[in-house]
């Protein structure tokens, strides 16, 4: 009986403590930024592709400019034939159970991940070998410079054959050499982690992190109740913050743009059964006129509540994107001239026609996404004065795939920390595959640039080729070349952070709001005492 009373008292005390954070050194940070992986914290199945993997260490990490910086690997090189990465590991890395991390674990992780069939994509890997205790070799099937992404995102797990090694239950009992170790994961609710005493790096400022996996509304209520130190917010709710919190805005390449079908309608169908081609958008004059008509600043204000910036390409501001893609818009005069010269005549009904074909096509967006709906409707209004009628059409993703994907203009969102995405979006070999090059864009010169980038000796050289694919002075997928897209906006991701929480210098976020903010978790500080 007495034991019972004590536990009730304890519970009450803890309960009260949970509601007012004491003003001593801050040991526990509570975050509500989503990102719960239902499969658990298993890197082989895709945990840690964005932001901090928390539990596991990676071979390299992305520095502030997304360039590779040392983590577990202190040195790395790519062979002359671009097929083999050789990495030297540090000798002071330990798993959270105190056992050393060696090349065996790294080789195991990469080999297992390539056959795991999860979200971590290692299909480019031939095999990984431990050369000696601290040297590992990764051999690829074909040259692919973007394989370096996997070195920066794949968390290293303990080899299966050792004690505490990788197994079926790893996702729920992760063991790694990262800054934190798991204390408890209450599925669907919260994750509690504490510092890993064996971590090789600078110990993080907070002893304990709590991640709440709550929905948008609940997160906001919890922030108002003072229970959360950092919360991801939809821009629409960012206006009204509790007094003890400040807005933290993270720039991103999480972009939205209009993809155009590039081929005229020929009656052909993709493997999925969706018809290919659109006679209106296949005309470059139409695509350029739309690009000139979009007032991107207004789109940011109206659809994103001001949280964003204009977009002119798939990776604005990143090293593999051409810096000169931006242009003056809106410029309706130029757009009108363009259309007149291309033979699109304006008729009395306010529409343009060419060879009896009206300048009319569907602008399809996923019906569940209100931001894209707004973007579609507002941009249709901006284009209408030109005599071009884009018809905003909301559909479910599955219907888009079966019907619209290759014949309608589509409001897409992409944005990645890796140039691999550019390869997927514009290489003709990916035409009609899933959501990648779904406009069937094909330009042999662009293909050559993209392939040259993949076979480059290092990232710097590759970046020059990636940029050339966008515009090489003659042609490219960008606005000066084939104008394959009309990019609209890059979102900014909004968070509410406690006034005392310093989140350091945030990098640039990829597609996806929430977990990516943890990329520089190590540098976060509490500034009040």
């Amino acid at each position: 009986m007495f034991r019972y009373q004590r536990s009730i008292l304890l519970g009450l005390t803890a309960f009260c403590l949970a509601f007012n954070s004491p003003l001593q050194a801050k040991e526990q940070l509570v975050l509500a930024i989503g990102g719960e992986p239902e499969q658990g914290f298993d890197p082989l199945l895709g945990w840690g592709q964005y932001g901090s993997p928390l539990f596991q260490a990676t071979l390299l990490s992305r520095g502030h400019d997304l360039a590779p910086t040392p983590e577990l690997a202190t040195a790395w090189s790519l062979s002359e034939d671009r097929l083999t990465w050789t990495l030297t590991l540090r000798d002071d890395a330990y798993f959270a159970d105190g056992t050393p991390l060696t090349a065996t674990d790294v080789a195991y992780t990469f080999n297992a991940a390539s056959s795991a069939g999860g979200r971590a994509d290692l299909s480019a890997l031939q095999a990984a070998h431990a050369i000696d205790r601290y040297t590992v070799e990764l051999t690829l099937k074909a040259p692919r410079i973007t394989f370096i992404d996997q070195l920066m995102t794949l968390g290293i797990v303990p080899a299966a054959e050792r004690e505490n090694g990788y197994g079926d239950h790893y996702g729920r009992q992760p063991l790694g050499a990262g800054p934190y170790q798991l204390v408890e994961w209450q599925e669907g609710e919260q994750l509690i982690v504490e510092r890993n005493p064996y971590y090789y790096g600078e110990p993080p400022a907070f002893e304990r992190l709590v991640f709440l996996f709550t929905g948008e509304d609940t997160t906001l209520s919890a922030a108002h109740a003072g229970q959360v130190d950092l919360a991801a917010l939809p821009p629409a709710l960012a206006a009204n913050l509790p007094t003890h919190m400040q807005r933290v805005v993270m720039e991103s390449v999480d972009n939205r743009g209009i993809l155009f079908p590039m081929q005229p309608a020929s009656g052909e169908h993709a493997p999925s059964g969706a018809p290919i081609g659109n006679d209106v958008t296949a005309d470059i004059a139409i695509r350029r006129a739309i690009n000139l008509a979009l007032d991107r600043e207004t789109l940011v204000d109206v659809a994103l509540h001001g949280y964003g910036r204009p977009a002119f390409g798939p990776a604005d501001g990143l090293a593999w994107s051409d810096t000169d893609e931006a242009f003056e818009a809106p410029d309706l005069t130029r757009a009108h001239t363009l259309l007149d010269d291309a033979g699109w005549e304006l008729r009395a009904d306010g529409l343009r026609y060419k060879d009896g074909q009206p300048a009319r096509f569907r602008l399809t967006y996923p019906a569940s996404d209100t931001t894209r709906q707004l973007l579609a409707q507002v941009s249709a209004d901006m284009v209408r004065p030109l005599g071009i009628e884009m018809q905003p059409t909301g559909r479910h993703w599955d219907e888009i795939q079966r019907e619209a994907l290759h014949q309608d203009a589509i409001v897409f969102g992409f944005g990645s920390h890796s140039p691999q995405e550019v390869y997927y979006l514009f290489h003709s070999q990916h035409a009609g595959f899933g959501f990648y090059n779904s406009g069937y864009y094909a330009n042999p010169t662009v293909d050559r640039h993209l392939d040259a980038a993949q076979t480059a000796a290092d990232q710097e050289t590759a970046n020059q080729h990636w940029q050339a694919a966008q515009w090489d002075g003659e042609t490219g997928y960008g606005v000066r070349g084939d104008t394959s897209w009309a990019w609209m906006v890059n979102l900014a991701h909004v968070y509410a952070a406690h006034r005392c929480l310093d989140v350091g210098e945030l990098g640039i976020a990829p597609h996806g709001h929430g977990w990516p903010i943890t990329a520089n978790l190590q540098t976060w500080r509490w500034t009040c005492d």
Partner: protein
């Protein structure tokens, strides 16, 4: 003897029902237009090479024809396995047992409360037929019987959690607290609002049912006889009524388990309470065939057993009821 035969017949019927439920659920999943690979990848669907997609399809068995998938699942079931959930990457039986443990706390307490409170209110209203109290109780029952659960839940959340701050906003425990640290009191505090909402839903039908029974009793010869001997209404309600109305009420309670289950799924969504309800929604939206079938079977079993108990109780109360076709 006849009872045993009747029970055997019922069990056979139950097996058939379960099979039909599984087949139907499977058919629905197969008709769903969702691409399981896209559903699996979620937001990362634009980061994966064609080769990797093929590997995912192979690893989780997305590509085999429906009949083969169903046959495979049935074979697994007969060997006592419910299969592997690709959403949670753990055996379906584990997913269900983990989450059902949470749901049963919610469901069980709501069920008990609604039986007890509903019965008491029904007895009171029936005993005092036509009084103000009766009118208030039956009015309340009619209103709640026609109130949508989710609406009630949202209103409760706004009023008690956001506006008044009396109850927690979500979840089954406070943020940052380990499971073993959470006291019973805190657990109950977190359960209070979802249970209250679900109880309000369950009370109405039991109240109205019990009230009707009581009114019938009050007009019966037994009551007339007792009145003649100078007993008061309360005496009669207490001495005859309760016995008279309790079994039917219990029967109804068991029979309404299905509704309660449906209500619980909605409630869990609203209160972000991580039970079976949330897993069901995930499984449906992301084409997790083994998990959805597992949950469908489990739910059907749960509801059928409730109905079986209800039927058996009826037989106990009133032997005149036909005992099936035997």
């Amino acid at each position: 003897m006849r009872l045993t035969r009747w029970l055997a017949y019922r069990c056979l019927r139950l097996t058939l029902v379960l099979f039909c439920v599984a087949a139907l659920a499977f058919g629905l999943v197969m008709l769903s237009p969702i691409d399981p690979v896209d559903a699996y990848l979620g937001p990362q669907m634009a980061q994966v090479s064609p080769e990797q997609r093929a590997l995912i399809t192979e690893r989780w068995g997305f590509e085999s024809p429906p009949a083969v998938q169903f046959g495979h699942w049935l074979r697994q079931l007969l060997s006592g396995e419910l299969g592997w959930s690709h959403i949670y990457n753990q055996p379906v039986s584990e997913v269900i047992s983990q989450r059902f443990y949470r749901s049963i706390m919610l469901l069980g307490s709501a069920w008990l409360l609604s039986v007890v409170v509903g019965f008491a209110l029904g007895v009171i209203a029936g005993a005092k037929e036509g009084s103000t109290l009766d009118r208030v109780i039956s009015g309340y029952a009619y209103i709640t019987a026609s109130t949508p659960t989710f609406w009630l839940g949202i209103v409760g959340l706004l009023l008690f959690s956001v506006y008044l701050g009396w109850t927690p906003i979500c979840c089954a425990g406070p943020p940052g607290m380990l499971s073993q640290e959470v006291s019973l009191l805190t657990r109950l505090h977190h359960l209070a609002l979802p249970v209250a909402t679900l109880t309000l839903l369950g009370i109405a039908s039991i109240t109205l049912h019990t009230r009707t029974r009581m009114i019938a009793l009050m007009r019966s010869e037994i009551a007339t006889h007792a009145f003649a001997q100078g007993a008061s209404r309360i005496d009669i309600a207490w001495r005859h009524g309760i016995r008279h109305a309790s079994l039917p009420a219990l029967t109804l309670a068991f029979a309404s388990l299905g509704e309660l289950f449906g209500g619980a799924i909605l409630i869990e969504q609203i209160f972000a309470y991580p039970g079976l309800g949330q897993a069901t929604v995930e499984a449906g939206l992301r084409s997790d065939v083994p998990l959805l079938l597992g949950i469908a079977l489990f739910t059907a079993l749960f509801v059928s057993v409730g109905n079986l108990i209800a039927d058996s109780l009826y037989h106990l109360i009133d032997p005149r009821i036909e005992q099936g076709p035997l």
